[in-house]
Amino acid sequence: MTEPDTLISVRDLTIAFGPKVIQQNVSFDLKRGSIFAVMGGSGCGKSTLLKSMIGLLRPTSGQILVGGEDYWAQNEKRRTELNHRYGVLFQSAALWSSMTVGENVALPMEMFTDLTPEVIRRLVELKLGFVGMEQAIDLMPSEISGGMRKRAGLARAIALEPDILFFDEPSAGLDPITSARLDDLILTLRDGLGATIVIVSHELPSLFKIADDGIFLDARTHTPIARGSPRDLRDHNTIPEVVAFMNRKADIAPASETKG
């Protein structure tokens, strides 16, 4: 059913908080090496979908197949093993505030590998070097700026050599230049590490630049309404909500609200 180059395949997923359905009928395949964008307006459930993919929120129904294994049907131990294929950059970077930047990157390696402290230190320097943060290795998260925190979070996300990276609004709260640099960094890491990337965002310039596949979630109908790369959706899609979103038009929003 799934093609060989499919890494994750989401099948008829429904995510709900109690009786309140966030998204339903979500199905898509994540192709190896792609940068997959989860798009949609604020509050449509993008981050929630991401949470259920990385094991933080159990979906109400449906499947997430990781390499053919039904993720949520596994026991906790197996899920943790599968999670080690993932690297996650959280919206707020989520660095552990009681540790230095270096310790943040080192902790997963200390917990899950048998490497010696010297080797770990070298690896931490390397990962921080990838994101241009090697000078901040001994600083606390509270001592660095928001953009640096995001990059440090990225270094931590790639600590265990994951093959799938999840980014939750990577450019939120960053200035345009920092944000553009982060985009370049994401592309470089994808090519360098051979990783597949899932990115939740509504930063259009960044999506057009880096993403080559994606899904558009609609907040009103609680279902995905379009599939394809952001560029494709912008140029060839005819669904009013998608067109409005991709072209940053305001006039469609009230119209769609009164419809519903």
Partner: protein, 364 residues
């Protein structure tokens, strides 16, 4: 203006500061007929602000109800723009909470929730105990640096406040005891009174209450902040168990430190009693100490010591649980800290009552 067209004339200042929010009378459009257009004449209008817009919004709604067309074209341009932003009707008030479920159902809910909660806390306790056992063999994965920081915060840095409070409590006990015992010429027994009361009950409880407020509140606030900051999510995604990683050092440090703080607090309380006794009665210092050592048996200290360990475990466990269960906003952090302290203090007193019953049954 065509005669017969209803027209509303507004004049003067329409500001919140100067005139307040004038309501539009409910019968204001009684003289009009459906289908007419309501004009607004603003030639006499001077200063205006939100008060004017609120009034116009009322008028617009009343016009809608009366079947009139509201014509805003004669309004000042900015007022037209602001009015256009507002919906036809103000948002309906959300319906209040539904009827209360029957008493039996509520009791059932509360019972189920309490049982679930007890189960969860017991699971946490189990995981922490397992983690503590693994620590002995060095396999828990807990960072010793975290443990050291937590031990410092739950131990040495609390010495001053624990000392001050216990000293004063000992002094107060001695003072009250002296006044009463003097009537029976039994002043010297104040040494026993202070010693036994503090070693057995008061120092253990006071120290536990201080630590519930100080450290329990801090644990709950810290963990709920980590939750809001997605730090707990990050741990979970990596598969780093929250129990060994955050809970274990916190709970272990408080459980290790509080019995020691209790011992220190008891000695300081006895010292407080001694200072008061020396200043108010004619017994030698040596006599006072001898009476204390004779009167206060070692098992009183053991009893207090053991109690302190359980108090500490309870405070830390409850605080961590409250923190993990908290919401993700700044207000939730405050609520979590408050709740941890309240649960801690009430729990300590309740546990102490249970200990008193057990001690009585075992004749300790």
């Amino acid at each position: 203006m065509r005669t017969g067209t209803p027209c509303l004339h507004v004049q003067g200042d329409w500001t919140v500061q100067n005139g307040g929010m004038a309501p539009f009378p409910t019968d204001g459009l009684n003289q009009t007929h459906q289908g007419q257009t309501l004009q607004i004449d603003t030639t006499g209008l001077q200063q205006w602000d939100s008060a004017f817009i609120t009034f116009l919004w009322d008028v617009k709604q009343a016009a809608g109800h009366a079947g009139l067309t509201f014509d805003p074209t004669h309004l000042p341009e900015p007022a037209q723009r602001l009015l256009a932003l507002l919906p036809e009707q103000p948002a309906a008030k959300p319906a209040g909470p539904g009827p209360k479920p029957p008493l039996l159902e509520r009791v059932g809910d509360i019972t189920l929730n309490t049982l679930t909660e007890t189960g969860t806390v017991a699971e946490l306790a189990e995981e922490t105990t397992k983690g503590a056992l693994k620590t002995v063999t060095g396999k828990s994965g807990m960072r010793l640096k975290d443990l050291a920081t937590d031990i410092w915060n739950a131990g040495p840095s609390a010495l001053l406040i624990v000392g001050v409070v216990n000293f004063l409590v000992g002094a107060i006990l001695a003072f009250v005891g002296l006044v009463e015992l003097r009537r029976f010429a039994a002043e010297i027994y104040v040494a026993n009174l202070v010693g036994i009361a503090c070693a057995r009950e008061i120092s253990a409880i006071m120290t536990a209450i201080i630590m519930a407020g100080r450290t329990g509140g801090a644990y709950a606030a810290r963990i709920s902040t980590m939750l809001g900051n997605e730090e707990i999510d990050a741990l979970q995604v990596f598969g780093i168990p929250v129990s060994t990683y955050i809970l274990l050092p916190s709970i272990l440090s408080l459980a290790l430190m509080m019995p020691l703080l209790y011992l220190y607090g008891t000695l300081i309380a006895i010292l407080g009693g001694f200072v008061v006794a020396m200043s108010m009665m004619s017994v030698s210092a040596i006599g006072y100490w001898t009476t204390t050592f004779d009167g206060v048996a070692l098992h009183e200290f053991v009893f207090g010591f053991v109690k302190s360990f359980f108090f500490a475990s309870f405070i830390a466990l409850a605080a961590c649980r409250v923190g993990l269960k908290a919401g993700r906003s700044a207000a939730d952090v405050g609520i979590a800290a408050t709740r941890a302290v309240v649960i801690g203090i009430v729990g300590i007193i309740a546990m102490d009552a249970v200990f008193a019953v057990i001690a009585n049954a075992l004749d300790i």
